[in-house]
C-alpha cells in the first residue's frame, strides 16, 4: 500500500503532535496550580499563567493550520474524523489550561489566608484523580485505544463525589471569616478540577468516535448503566 497523500498526512500528523503538546502542557499546569494553592507558592502560580499564554498561542496556531487543511485537502474518512477530533480536542485542552489558570488565580486570592489541611488534602486527592484521567485521555488518543477511553467515566465518579462533598467540608470549618474566604476560593478550585475531569471524559468520547465512528455521550451512558443497575 502506498500513501498517495504523504504531504497531507505529514501535516495532519504535525497537527496531532501539537495537540499532544498542548495536552502535556495542560497536564503539567494542573500539578503546578494545585501545588501553588496548597503551598501558597506565588511563583508557581505565575508560571501557570505564563504557560497558559503559550497554550493560547498554540491553540491559535493549531486552529489556523486546521482551517488550512480543511480548505485545501478535503479530508475524507478516518482523516476527516481525526480532523474533527483534533478541532474538538484543541478547544477542550485549551479550556483545561484555562481551568488550571483558574486554580492558580484562586491560589493568588488565598495568598496569606489560613487554610484547612483537611480540605487541602482533598484538593490534593482530586489532583491525584484528575491528572491520570487527562493522561489516560491523551494516551488513549495516541494509541487509538477506545477501550481505554471508555474507562474515563468511571474514573470521573470519585472526582465528582469529592467535589460534591466539598460544601459540607466548608460548612464544617466554623465561622472564621478568613478561613471561610480561603475555603470559598478553594471550593472554586475544586470546581475547576471537577471541570478538568469532565474535559478528560470529553476527550475520551472523541477518541471513541475517532476509532469507531460512533459519537457517544459518556455521561448519558453512565446514567443508563446506573438506571439498569437499580
Amino acid at each position: 500500500m502506498v500513501d498517495q497523500r504523504t504531504h497531507f498526512h505529514a501535516e495532519l500528523e504535525g497537527l496531532e503532535q501539537s495537540i499532544h503538546e498542548i495536552g502535556d502542557r495542560a497536564y503539567d499546569m494542573i500539578q503546578m496550580a494545585i501545588q501553588a494553592l496548597i503551598d501558597d507558592d506565588m511563583d508557581l502560580a505565575r508560571q501557570v499563567r505564563a504557560s497558559d499564554q503559550v497554550i493560547d498561542q498554540m491553540y491559535l496556531d493549531v486552529h489556523n493550520r486546521w482551517i488550512n487543511l480543511i480548505a485545501r485537502q478535503q479530508p475524507m474518512g478516518a482523516d476527516l474524523r481525526l480532523m474533527s477530533v483534533l478541532l474538538h480536542m484543541n478547544v477542550t485542552l485549551e479550556r483545561t489550561g484555562d481551568q488550571a489558570v483558574n486554580i492558580a488565580k484562586m491560589a493568588e486570592l488565598c495568598h496569606g489566608l489560613p487554610g484547612s489541611d483537611r480540605i487541602g488534602q482533598q484538593i490534593q486527592e482530586m489532583g491525584h484523580l484528575v491528572r491520570p484521567m487527562l493522561r489516560t485521555a491523551i494516551e488513549s488518543f495516541i494509541r487509538r485505544d477506545a477501550a481505554e477511553a471508555r474507562l474515563l467515566p468511571a474514573m470521573d465518579e470519585p472526582v465528582d463525589r469529592i467535589n460534591m462533598g466539598m460544601y459540607r467540608e466548608v460548612v464544617a470549618l466554623g465561622t472564621d471569616p478568613e478561613m471561610l474566604e480561603w475555603a470559598t476560593h478553594t471550593m472554586m478550585a475544586a470546581r475547576a478540577l471537577e471541570r478538568i475531569g469532565d474535559q478528560a471524559v470529553d476527550v475520551g468520547e472523541q477518541v471513541v468516535y475517532l476509532v469507531t465512528g460512533e459519537l457517544l455521550d459518556f455521561n448519558e451512558e453512565a446514567l443508563d448503566e446506573r438506571g439498569s443497575e437499580s
Partner: protein, 297 residues
Amino acid sequence: MSETETAPATTGASDRTIEITTRPRDVGEDARSMHIEDPVIEAQGLGVHYGHFRAVRDVTMKFGKNEITALIGPSGCGKSTVLRCFNRMNDLIPSARVEGNVIYNDTDIYAEDIDPVEVRRKVGMVFQKPNPFPKSIFDNVAWGAKINGFKGSKGELSNLVERALGQAALWEEVKDKLNESGYSLSGGQQQRLCIARAIATNPDVVLMDEPASALDPIATLRIEELMHELKDDYSIIIVTHNMQQAARVSDRTAFFSVDVNDSGMRTGRLVEYGFTDKIFTTPEHEETEHYITGRFG
C-alpha cells in the same frame, strides 16, 4: 447496520480463494448489499468477462428509485464496466460476456428475449466526453424521440425539446439558437445538451459515466446541481473518479476495488455499498478507508 440484508451464504464462497488482499476486519456481505425497498435496478451476481479476462465479478446490489448512486473506486476496478451492464452497452464490445442478472422492471435485461435497444430507451446514458451529434441543437434532442417512434405532432415535438432542454437547465441559453450546431456550444453546455438528449426519450434511469471529467470546475458544479434537480424525475447512477463529486451529489455510494492475481489479471469487485455520508466519514471496510484517505496503490 441494522437494516442490512444478509446474503445467501453460498454466494462468493468459491471466489474467496483468489482474494489476495488482506482483510483484517471482514465485514462480510453486510457492507455490500443494502436493503432497498422497490429498487429501480438490481444486480445479482453480476460479472463481466472480456475474452478470457475477468473484469468484474460478483456484484450484487440494488439501486434506489429517485436516488443518485455513485460508483467509485480506483482505475480498473470495473465501475464503468458495471455501469455499462445496466443498459447493455457492453454488448457493443464483441468479446464481452456478462454473467449474472440485472433486474429492471421485474425482468432480467439479459434474458434471451430482451432486445438491448428496448433496454436503452428506458435506461439512458450520458458519456464522459460531451458527444452531441453534428446536428442542430433541436435535432440533437428531437432525434431520440423520432427514432423511438414519437407519435406527437411537430408542435408537440417542439414542446418535448423545450421541456427536455429546460430540465437540463439549458433552455434559457439556447432558446434563440436551436438551429445552430450542437458543436457551437461550450463543453459544459454540450454536456447538458447530452443530458437533455438522454432525458428526452423519457427514461427511468440515467447512467452517467464520469459526466464532468472533461469539464471545468464551474461547468462541473452546474452538472452536479442539475443532477440534484433531475433526481425528482429520474434515478441516476454515476461513475466518477472524483471522490468529492461523489460525496457532493450522491445519496448512496458503492466502492469498488481491484484484485490482482498471480498472472497480473485485474478483477474488480464491490467492496462496500452504503449511504454516502457513512462511506465518506466512517466506512466499514478498511479498503474503503484507505481509498478515500488516499492510502492505496
